[in-house]
């Protein structure tokens, strides 16, 4: 009888030891895992309109002044299963002398803040034979939408890639965290 009781005590003791170990095994990966968002694929964020851009001869033209305020926010999704390089095309006489280029990883979103009158991009995918990659049709590679009436502060305007490549939820989160109100 006493022997059985000892066995029970030992079992309870062992079980008590297991509780924190098992719970850590379950909780730890959740804590360690990076902040993830539900993958909504290529669905545009709420309020992001299918306007302010044009696909023209394989290139992408962004036209922020076409609708709404000049300072716009573009969400651009890479529909391909490989990274897409976006190379800005500039006129020879442009003083801007700076290329707002970016690389969007497969099935990810990028966010461009811009107040330029017009931006034109050529799309490429990596090709070991060519340093700038192989040209692909932007229309077949990207999904684009624009927030045309965005509320910027004095300190966060300008022309820059706010999000280079991330999930849709993380991209929206980054925009809001930056103090920009897309609408």
């Amino acid at each position: 009888m006493k022997n059985n009781k000892n066995t029970e005590i030992l079992l309870v003791f062992i079980m008590a030891l297991w509780v924190p170990i098992v719970s850590m095994a379950v909780v730890k990966p959740l804590l360690k895992a990076p902040k993830t968002f539900k993958d909504e694929g290529d669905k545009s964020p709420l309020g992001c309109k299918d306007l302010g851009y044009r696909f023209d001869l394989k290139t992408l033209k962004l036209l922020p002044e076409e609708v709404g305020l000049p300072q716009s926010l573009y969400f651009i999704f890479n529909e391909r299963s490989e990274s897409v390089n976006l190379y800005q095309m500039l006129k020879n006489d442009s003083t801007r002398s700076m290329y707002l280029n970016n690389v969007i990883t497969p099935r990810q979103w990028a966010v461009l803040s811009t107040s330029e009158k017009k931006l034109q991009y050529i799309c490429t995918v990596n090709d070991p034979k060519q340093s700038y990659g192989k040209i692909v049709d932007c229309a077949e590679s990207l999904k684009v939408c624009e927030y045309a009436r965005v509320k910027y502060g004095m300190n966060n305007g300008g022309n820059y890639w706010l999000v280079k490549s991330s999930s849709r939820g993380a991209a929206v989160d980054a925009v809001l965290h930056y103090g920009i109100i897309p609408r």
């Binding site: 022997n3 000892n6 066995t7 030992l10 079992l11 062992i14 030891l17 297991w18 170990i21 850590m24 095994a25 730890k28 990966p29 360690k32 190379y87 006489d93 442009s94 003083t95 801007r96 002398s97 700076m98 290329y99 707002l100 280029n101 690389v103 330029e116 070991p128 340093s131 700038y132 004095m154 300190n155 966060n156 305007g157 300008g158 022309n159 820059y160 890639w161």
Partner: protein
């Protein structure tokens, strides 16, 4: 009794498995163990400044010795200033440091040694170009004429006091705020603030152009663009206008160019170690008489 021993043994067996699992978790959480990503390294010496000019016939390079100082080597203040600008540095010299010196120093001027073109086709608006490859800024007037240029030290790749990348944000911005010689940081040193940023000119969030006594000749800041204090004073008091109602919130344009490698943006991007891009050697194409803007990208 045998049953008890079996239970205890089973328990420790499982414990062993669990610790192994925990170890695997730890490894998968550590990117240095589980992912193979080419580690970005500092670009090779730039053909635009410092030791990168040693192959250029218009420059000679000298190795400083113990006891050397800028004042001792270049007693003439104007010439000393030019040499410091060419080396993007006015910090104290140390024995063994190599510096580039223009061979025709007595005839050279600030503009003749410029890494920027003297004239660009303008859009009738003055602008400041911050070029992180040249480690320099250039101020152009509304007619596209270069007015002045100077060295910078922009954001380093990784800061020792932070987990974040300290790169300066690249893009086109407008100066929205500027302060006097007394300008100080609200953030750095972390937790205290108070780091001196004389003549600061904010262009985006907490990013600013400002003077600094520490100009080491490489990218060394937390993200701001450091410059010679005299240059920051000149820009702040003479050149830069902040965004306001009068100018329709179009403060002076600041263009921050990215750090590039082979004409591509260089940074914490995943680049295969055996990529032909990473293997391709950089050929110094530019000297001070060539417009490097025409050969650098695209």
């Amino acid at each position: 009794m045998k049953k008890q021993v079996a239970v205890v043994l089973f328990h420790f067996l499982l414990l062993g498995v669990d610790s192994l699992t925990a170890d695997l978790y730890a490894k998968s959480a550590n990117p240095t163990v589980s992912t193979i990503v080419a580690k970005p390294t500092e670009p090779p010496p730039s053909p635009y400044y410092g030791v990168g000019l040693c192959d250029n016939p218009l420059y000679e390079c000298i190795k400083t010795m113990a006891g050397d100082s800028w004042e001792k080597l270049f007693p003439d203040e104007a010439q000393r200033d030019l040499v410091q600008r060419i080396n993007r540095c006015y910090n104290n010299l140390w024995a063994g440091k190599t510096i580039a010196v223009p061979r025709d120093l007595s005839h050279d001027t600030l503009l003749s040694l410029s890494p920027f073109p003297q004239k660009i086709n303008g859009e009738h608006e003055k602008e400041i170009i911050v070029d992180q490859d040249k480690l320099a800024w250039g101020a152009y007037d509304a007619e596209g004429q270069l007015v002045k240029w100077g060295p910078i030290a922009s954001g380093r790749d990784k800061c020792p006091d932070s987990n974040n990348i300290c790169r300066t944000l690249t893009g086109l911005f407008r100066v929205f705020s500027k302060e006097s010689k007394e300008c100080v940081s609200d953030v750095f040193p972390i937790g205290k603030g108070g780091a001196k940023m004389p003549y600061c000119m904010y262009f985006h969030k907490g990013f600013a152009l400002h003077g600094s006594p520490d100009m080491p000749g490489y990218r060394a800041s937390h993200g701001c663009v450091r410059m010679f204090i005299s240059d920051a004073k000149w820009l702040n008091e003479t050149f830069v206008q902040i965004s306001n109602e009068m100018n329709h919130y179009m403060g002076t344009l600041v263009i921050i160019r990215p750090v590039t490698k082979d004409g591509k943006e260089y940074g914490p991007v995943k680049l295969a170690a055996d990529s032909p891009v990473s293997k391709k050697a950089l050929k110094p194409k530019a000297n001070r008489w060539v417009n490097p803007d025409e050969v650098s990208v695209q």
